[in-house]
Amino acid sequence: MTQLHTSAPTAGATATDAFLEVRNLSVKFPTDDGLVSAVNGMDFTLERGQTLGIVGESGSGKSVTSQALMGLLKGTSAQVTGQAMFQGKDLVTLPESAMRQLRGRNIGMIFQDPLSALHPFYTVGHQIAEAYLVHNKASKKQARAAAVDMLGRVGIPSPEQRYDEYPHHFSGGMRQRAMIAMALICEPELLIADEPTTALDVTVQAQILDLMSELQEETNSALILITHDLGVVAEVCDDVLVMYGGQCVESGPVDEIFYDTQHPYTLGLLNSMPTLSTAAGELNPIPGQPPSLLDLPKGCIFSARCQYAELVGEGKCAKERPELTVEAGHGKRCHLSGPQIITIRTSR
């Protein structure tokens, strides 16, 4: 079981036995208008064979977190601090040259829009074989064979022919399968999927999710699934981490998040999902806007949009930022007490 727990930001935290352990990860971008705090003190751990869903709306820091783990922010102006221990190496401080060895081989990544993420000028097969060649001492022939085999494994029919076709010859779903083949060709132990189904037709989404789960089971890899779609989370994740304003506001096993929701923001997210019985014009959005990452509120980041802040009283929510408290593997960052949350949940 994956454990999601908090720890005070301790200096020089030591590596544990966890497969991936992220401690107090923060990412800031200097801009002309000031410092943008995209990720603020993320903590989580992940074990092999497990799937962690990171959920949140646009701008909540999901993608930036994944890019920081991938080391894709190295060489940019982004300031990444904290710790991300992976196989005894800290991904935050690892130099770019060493990070490059991990990328593709130990950590694979799948992106949102497979059309723009694939190079339009090279054949799909070439792009997959390229990923194989860079990490394996192999001939071009062997790389081609590996890529064809991988294309077959991700369910692309007649892979030998499809190898020589260009991305624009592929349908959206087939492109995402090709992306998955590219990310998995070196059998990485950790796979990060950044909104892998968002750009796809609903009918194709389930196929892609099934495929990812299947391949994950085969290779016993760990999967971080970044999405804004709670339906996707419910389908494939073991654990969930809900992000808001660059912070984790609630985390825990997927069932607990859905059936024992502890944070008003998560409640809002669940409530805003339309169901078949939702009548036209009856959507339930969370009122207000996400906070500006240039100037985060001093208190709870969600307080400005929270309808239950007055239950806490004394303006505490606006003044004091709640810590992430963990009880039996279920973490929340909220001043509301357990009984208050239960009252809120049952009253809806």
Binding site: M70, L72, R100, Q101, L102, R103, G104, R105, G108, M109, F111, D113, S116, A117, L118, H119, P120, F121, E130, A131, V134, H135, Y166, H168, M179, M182, A183
Partner: protein, 333 residues
Amino acid sequence: MMTFILRRAGSLVLLLFAVSFITFTLFQLGPSDPAAAACGQECTPERVSEARVALGMDQPFFLQYFDYVRGLFSSRMIGAPGAQTLCEWPCLGKSFQTNENVADIIARSLPYTFSMAIGALVLWTITGVGLGLMAALRKGSPVDKFIVGAASVGVSLPIPVTGLFLLLLFVNQLHLLPFTTNEINSPFGPQGPGAWVANYLLPWIALAVLFSASYIRVTRTNMIETFGEDFIRTARAKGLAPRTVTFKHGVRAGITPVVTMLGMDIGLLLGGAVLTEQIFSVPGLGFTAVHAAISGDLPVTMAITMLAAFFVIVANVAVDLAYAAIDPRVRLQ
């Protein structure tokens, strides 16, 4: 692909007819009288009309044009009745000024223009694309700012200024390079490639300063945009080396606008770089065209105009073919 080339060749022929007809018409409408010019200073009206007959300008307009076009397909007789001479195919007429075959004049001027264009092209492509890429890779750094600043200066320097400055500095003051001579027009001549380079280096630099500035800017803008593309992030996420990401994935995708520019510029330059040829006294097509136009030498002007149009169109076809080679999404039809 063959269909594409054939179709473009067809439109090339039509366009050349249009260009020749327009030039021919403009010449007839113009104020200059080639017969008077050919006959010289002290000229009686009789001798002017004799000259007019000799030049074939006594004929009706359409007959003159028809005769001219006929010469493009076969040899024809040219000159006044009784004193006709054979103009061998391809007959582009004879110079009103020197009575020389225009085809010979073109054949003589072309190597100079080629010599100038090729070197300049190589020089500005390398510096333009190279510096543009360097600026894009170091976006926002002092290196980037310096390159962009230098490009702004370069593009605003006219050829007469850079040309004369280069001559003054390298030829007059430092004596590093010889003054351009007409004796060298090919790297395979008796003087060898070294002398060829030394002879054309200054015009190459003058043209490169002007042209590379816009290449720097186009390359820089397009490469910055390309480096921000998702597929570049994918290439990095695969663990590819920075060099592979930059060149194999980045440059190939970001270079297409430069190819377009290059095609246009090659076409224009092969038609003759008028100013540069004047300043460095290179007797290429541009130089010849200016003198022919001033002296009302219709056959020479016509031929060079058509040749320039030909080069521009061929360069355009070459750009389309290059696009298809670079980008598999491009279908030629």
